[in-house]
């Protein structure tokens, strides 16, 4: 019925006869009544009893009906308390005055029982409806505050877990709002044991907690795997698998990611769903587009996901840029979006490479001219550096004081299936790091193993020629061919043999890598001091010679042995 239970009515009338009649009528209708014989008493009684409805006579001495109505409405505030004027006045304009004075209705004397009842019923329903709505509003307000509070708490938790990592490396510049995660934007940078820098910029669909949730597995997997030396492709595969499992259909993460191999000056790039990024080559002043060639993370199941990166030769001074679509869609006061053209123009017109980031960052702010963008603008710049320029190097493993093994050897034989799907290096490094003395050489040892292993795999088992890597076009061809051959691999092997002896003052580690390939004529190659096979391919050998105390090729050249010494 939606009616109030036993509504409480206040009657304010200075005429005792009228009051008596009205009160009797109301009691008969089962209302609970209060009476006041003048305006002041009426207001005081209203304050005290807070009735649901008020019937007030217009003509009263001192405070008349209009005055009473005004005061009562003020006291009632947001609550809906109908005030009905009782009048015996005949003129129409008096009726109008009643409503103007803030009253809700009027009743004419002498009282008509039927009309009285009808009006009161109608107002009862209105009061009930009003209260229901007020209660709902209160509930909504409360829920909202609750949500806001939860978000604050969640944000604090997120800040602890989704650490920026190495975002503060000196060759990284970025723009992220403090609420970036809650808008689905994540930027992560980390350094691998071999001193590669891996960076990603992610944009989860949606907003709020739903968008932010994905950032947790993304961050944990990224940092965990980079720390163990996994490659970008391996990390992307794992990220996609996990996000595909965790995120509901329709939610995904657009991602731009790069791995900068500082030693080899190669940049590996993967873009799935982010707007086209840019690789700036500073020697020729050109901007190379890094187009999204893949579906965003979390959409495809593991068996259909393509982690294939594109590889570019780079030099110190080159820069990589990625941004989320918030930058392109930032709209000014007239609603016009910033757009890709303006972004590129800003970059082209920058006065110097050092100002490219500012061109992006300040350019859009100038365009917006005070308008707050709807979607977060996130962007990141990575400058290619050589090892000497890196101001901060992160230590991949924590120091442990425990005694480690001092005399041991290990044989590890990898067959085609493993070669195709598995990267043994993180595990091998992990084993080497069990030797406390070797921990400070983790970076170098990883570099050595990676070099030996990739040579064994690429040139030995897959029989790729590194001469292809000497040109820029040849680069992508090389990696394409590599992927193809690896996928088709059905025979072959690589064996890793480690041996270590040492004590408190020094030690020797030897690593032998044997592959099933035909080998090469190493005597011929090594008669030249400077490697003759082009800038990009010969550096590996130089590196080995710098780090290792001994390097020799054995047999057909399909077996290589290095020794690494340390001493206090």
């Amino acid at each position: 019925m939606n009616q109030l239970k036993r509504p409480r009515i206040l009657v304010v009338d200075d005429n005792p006869t009228d009051r008596l009649i009205l009160l009797s009528m109301l009691r008969q209708l089962d209302y609970q009544v209060f009476e006041a014989e003048n305006g002041l008493q009426g207001v005081a009684l209203f304050r005290q009893e807070k009735p649901d409805l008020v019937l007030v006579d217009v003509v009263m001495p001192e405070l008349d009906g209009y005055g009473v109505a005004r005061e009562i409405k003020q006291i009632a505030g947001d609550s809906f308390v109908p005030v009905i004027f009782i009048t015996s006045l005949q003129q129409d304009e008096e009726f109008a005055r009643c409503i103007d004075a803030g009253g809700d209705d009027f009743l004419v004397k002498p009282y008509n029982r039927i009309l009285l009842r009808a009006k009161l019923d109608a107002y009862s329903r209105q009061i009930q409806m009003h209260r229901t709505i007020q209660a709902q509003l209160e509930q909504i307000r409360e829920n909202n505050n609750h949500l806001l509070h939860e978000q604050e708490v969640a944000k604090r938790i997120f800040d602890k877990i989704v650490k920026p990592g190495s975002l503060n490396l000196s060759n990284i510049r970025y723009r992220l709002s403090p609420l970036a995660i809650f808008n689905g934007d994540v930027a992560l940078v980390a350094t691998s044991p071999s001193q590669n820098i891996l960076m990603l910029l992610g944009d989860f669909t949606g907003h709020g907690l739903a968008a932010a949730i994905g950032a947790l597995p993304l961050t944990q997997i990224f940092y965990g795997m980079v720390g163990k030396g996994f490659s970008l492709e391996e990390i992307l595969k794992e990220l996609n698998t996990r996000l595909h499992e965790v995120l509901p259909v329709g939610v995904f993460c657009c991602l731009g990611a790069v791995e900068l191999d500082i030693e080899r000056n190669i940049l590996h790039v993967w873009n799935g769903g982010l707007p086209t990024g840019v690789l700036y080559r500073h020697d020729i002043g050109e901007f190379l587009p890094l187009v999204s060639r893949h579906l965003a993370l979390g959409i495809l199941p593991a068996n259909r996901f393509v982690a294939k990166v594109e590889s570019y030769p780079v030099q110190p001074g080159d820069k990589v840029f990625f941004w989320t679509d918030g930058l392109l869609e930032a709209a000014n006061a007239t609603g016009e979006m910033y757009g890709e053209e303006r972004v590129m123009q800003g970059l082209q017109n920058a006065a110097s490479p050092a100002q490219l980031f500012d061109a992006l960052n300040n350019g859009v702010d100038r365009y917006l001219d005070g308008v707050v963008p709807e979607d977060d603008i996130s962007l990141i710049e990575l400058t290619v550096v050589d090892r000497a320029e890196l101001a901060q190097i992160s230590r991949p493993f924590a120091q442990q004081a425990a005694q480690g093994p001092v005399a041991w050897s290990l044989n590890y034989n990898l067959l085609p299936d493993s070669l195709r799907n598995f990267n043994p290096l993180p595990l091998c490094l992990h084993i080497l790091m069990e030797v406390p003395a070797l921990r400070s050489y983790g970076g170098q040892l990883y570099t050595v193993m990676a070099e030996l292993y990739s040579n064994a795999l690429d040139h030995g088992v897959l029989q790729l020629s590194s001469s292809l890597k000497s040109t820029i076009d040849g680069f992508s061809q090389y990696y394409s061919e590599r992927a193809k051959r690896l996928a088709e691999l059905s025979s072959g092997f690589i064996t890793l043999h480690f041996a270590y002896t040492g004590n408190d003052h020094g030690g020797k580690l030897s690593i032998e890598v044997t592959d099933s390939g035909p080998g090469f004529n190493f005597k011929k190659v090594f008669t030249n001091e400077v490697p003759s096979q082009g800038k990009y391919s010969g550096r590996g050998l130089l590196l080995l010679k710098q780090i290792c105390s001994r390097l020799e090729y054995i047999g057909n050249g399909n077996q290589v042995r290095i020794e690494f010494d340390w001493s206090t």
Binding site: P16, S24, V59, K109, R113
Partner: protein, 112 residues
């Protein structure tokens, strides 16, 4: 209009339904209140206060109407207008009629 009976029995009938046992209380209230109003009217006339006159007439008119005392009510309406239009001089001739109509109404009510 001028019916014989000073009261509209239809109205009175409803009132008796509404008031039930308290009908006498109602009549007593009416009588005591009306006495006050009549006195107020006289005072206002003496003082030459049209506003006070109007208020008293208005009030008596209201309760008279509520009790079905139609002819009393109509006279009160006239007196109220006199007060509004500030023509107190027109009042004295009507005062005698006012009192007699009131007596009739009171007697009729007590008879019920």
């Amino acid at each position: 209009m001028n019916s014989d009976h000073p009261l509209d029995m239809h109205v009175v009938g409803e009132l008796r339904e509404i008031m039930g046992e308290d009908f006498c209380v109602l009549v007593d209230t009416f009588v005591s209140d009306s006495t006050v109003r009549l006195a107020d009217l006289a005072t206002a006339l003496e003082d030459g206060d049209p506003e006070a006159f109007r208020r008293a007439a208005h009030s008596l008119k209201g309760s008279a109407g509520n009790l079905g005392a139609k002819s009393l009510m109509e006279l009160c309406l006239q007196l109220e207008r006199i007060g509004v239009e500030q023509r107190l001089a027109d009042a004295p001739p009507l005062m005698a009629s006012l009192h007699s109509r009131y007596q009739q109404a009171e007697r009729a009510l007590r008879d019920i």
